[in-house]
């Protein structure tokens, strides 16, 4: 099997109501600081930090917000932290009009896994974790099931 045929698409969770941030090349301590600062400033109830790979973290907040407030929060975070990676992420989410975080493994990276919980977890974090569980099940099933036949137009 060639390297190319092993490649799979990336699976992620996407919505407009959950505030999600992607901190690349930042220490865990700084991520915790920025997450708690943003959470306090916008009263986002609680947050969860997921480790994506070495020095790369994802943050998901618990409160449900509108898309306009979501953009405001992400923009504020970019402005305050002056983080280049986060600004790139923010611009891309604005173009797509919805924010996405990766859930499946990617190339040499594992699935992002929770490393820190803070505050309430029964809102958006709960639904994020449910979807995460479902998607990981999909990935597991796809790995274990025999390789499906290439797509056939007649559906046979």
């Amino acid at each position: 099997m060639t390297e190319r045929s092993k490649a799979n698409p990336i699976l992620g969770y996407s919505d407009t109501e959950t505030v999600k941030l992607d901190f690349d090349n930042m220490s865990f301590k700084s991520v915790k600081y920025w997450a708690s600062r943003i959470g306090r400033w916008f009263k986002l109830r609680g947050f969860i930090v997921l480790k994506s790979s070495n020095n790369r973290y994802h943050v998901v907040f618990d409160r449900e917000v509108s898309w306009s407030l979501n953009v405001k929060i992400m923009g504020w975070a970019c402005l305050q932290s002056k983080h280049k990676g986060l600004t790139g992420y923010f611009i891309l989410q604005c173009i797509k009009q919805g924010s996405t975080l990766r859930i499946s493994p990617k190339k040499d990276k594992l699935c992002p896994r929770p490393v820190y919980y803070y505050g309430k977890q029964d809102g958006q974090i709960r639904s994020f974790l449910e979807y995460r569980h479902m998607l990981r099940e999909f990935v597991r099933k796809l790995k274990t099931s025999p390789k499906p036949q290439p797509h056939n137009k007649e559906g046979r």
């Binding site: 990336i10 969770y13 479902m134």
Partner: protein, 101 residues
């Protein structure tokens, strides 16, 4: 309130080659036109599906998405996608290439 599953990445697909030709219009201007030939070329592209719907449909859609590459940005319910997947995707292969979420 819609939670979606994003399936995204870079892929290689066979796309029809376009050929240009020139035709003189009635007003004398030479106009350029494009036509689709039957020849195919391999092109590297990026694409993205965003599926929403029930769990079983989502799983089936994700399995289909492994073989059918998205034509650009496809935001659709999993049920509708499964009814006519060729409409939203083309055959190809996913490749390992850095892509933003």
């Amino acid at each position: 309130m819609v939670k979606k599953i994003a399936v995204y990445g870079s892929y290689e697909a066979k796309v029809p080659v376009r050929q240009r030709f020139w035709k003189r219009r009635r007003d004398g201007i030479l106009q350029r036109y494009w036509k689709r030939t039957s020849r195919k070329k391999t092109a590297e592209m990026k694409g993205r599906y965003e599926f929403h719907g029930k769990g079983k449909d989502l799983y089936k859609a994700v399995v289909k998405a492994h073989h059918l590459m998205p034509k650009g940005f496809v935001d659709i319910s999993a049920e509708k996608f499964l009814e006519n997947p060729e409409k939203y995707g083309l055959e190809g292969e996913w490749i390992d290439r850095e892509v933003e979420s």
